[in-house]
């Protein structure tokens, strides 16, 4: 049934009438105590503990300035160091490491080519049937989980008028 019929309108009015009469639920007596205890705990914390947004403005500005200065310092001091490292690698100190990285990359590429050849060697029918079987198993698993959800997690007894 599409929502919006006469019976649905009457049901909406009745439910609204019943729910409008519901008073607020009474909060547990422990709530106020819990909140006050938590506020006391927070008040006892050191100023830097609650997080950056809770720090004093001067402290936040100082940290931001320190961060910017650190980034600038790292940039300035790393440039000559980087130049020295690349020069050393080009000469001989790090040449074996660079060569082994190149060999590793070539080995990975060779393995990839080998896998591609294997896939091409598999008959096309096998691939199609394999994909179909995988899809069927996936749908079967989906259906099993859906049935499990219906049986265990949904509450069908509440969705029908007794």
């Amino acid at each position: 049934m599409t929502p919006g019929g006469d019976g649905d309108d009457r049901l909406e009015r009745l439910v609204a009438q019943v729910l409008c009469e519901q008073p607020p639920l009474r909060a547990p007596a422990s709530l106020e105590t819990r909140i006050i205890a938590q506020l006391h705990r927070q008040a006892r914390q050191p100023w830097w503990r609650p997080g950056f947004h809770g720090w004093p403005l001067a402290g936040r500005l100082l940290v931001i300035a320190a961060c910017c200065a650190s980034v600038a310092a790292v940039w300035i001091f790393s440039m000559p160091l980087w130049a020295r490292v690349t020069a050393a690698a080009a000469q001989s100190a790090l040449a074996p490491a660079a060569a082994s990285a190149v060999y590793t990359w070539r080995a990975i590429r060779s393995l990839g080519s080998l896998a591609a050849h294997w896939v091409q060697a598999i008959p096309r029918e096998w691939l199609i049937w394999g994909m179909l079987a995988t899809g069927t198993l996936y749908l079967l698993l989906f259906a099993l989980v859906a049935i499990g959800y219906c049986l265990l997690c949904s509450r069908p007894e509440h969705s029908k008028v007794a």
């Binding site: 049934m1 599409t2 929502p3 919006g4 019929g5 019976g7 649905d8 009457r10 049901l11 909406e12 009745l14 439910v15 609204a16 009438q17 019943v18 729910l19 409008c20 009469e21 519901q22 008073p23 607020p24 639920l25 009474r26 909060a27 547990p28 422990s30 709530l31 106020e32 819990r34 909140i35 938590q38 506020l39 927070q42 989980v145 859906a146 959800y149 219906c150 997690c153 949904s154 509450r155 007894e157 509440h158 969705s159 029908k160 008028v161 007794a162």
Partner: protein, 178 residues
């Protein structure tokens, strides 16, 4: 705080159907209010602010849980039939006519708690928080049609829950205690 604690707790409890979680959410709401005390202290909008934050935190809690089952909820949701709507109307008629107000309130609160999340949350937002169908759909990130269907099914399920509890079958005795 005392003036608003029942309102905040009710909002959280009805949306989450979990009183322990509602207490945690209420605590968080008042702690946030304390942080904004300078702005809220004497503001006439303090109540609305508290209710909005309570709703927001409660929906965050419910949504985290709901996301896992959302797909299945949507796959298996179905419209209420005309017969179910009529039966639900009869249950509510009986509820209003035959049950004492105090007792009825306890029954209804208990029945609300027993509704599944995907029906209770839109129902509570519509009837208690006065949100429109469009606002609920936007807030819960579901289609407008699904909101309408879930609210309708929620009303029917609420009647079903009341009826299955024995309320509608024994109005003279008031049924069993919720």
């Amino acid at each position: 705080m005392r003036a608003y604690q029942d309102m905040v707790f009710s909002t959280a409890a009805r949306l989450t159907a979990n009183r322990a979680q509602a207490e945690d959410i209420s605590q968080e709401v008042f702690l946030r209010a304390y942080e904004s005390f300078d702005r809220l202290g004497s503001s006439p909008k303090a109540g609305g602010w508290l209710k909005t934050v309570a709703t927001h935190l409660s929906l965050n809690y419910v949504t985290r849980h709901r996301r896992r089952w959302r797909l299945f909820c949507e796959v298996f949701s179905e419209d209420a039939t005309a017969e179910e709507s009529e039966s639900a109307v009869a249950v509510f008629d009986e509820l209003l006519a035959a049950i004492e107000t105090e007792e009825r309130r306890a029954w209804v609160e208990h029945a609300l708690e027993r509704l599944p999340d995907h029906q209770r949350v839109p129902l509570v937002l519509y009837h208690f928080e006065d949100m429109s169908y469009q606002d609920i759909a936007a807030r819960l990130k579901i289609s407008l049609a699904k909101v309408k269907t879930d609210i309708l099914r929620g009303r029917v399920a609420l009647a079903g829950s009341l009826a299955s509890s024995g309320l509608a079958t024994s109005p003279a005795t008031g049924g069993a205690q919720p």
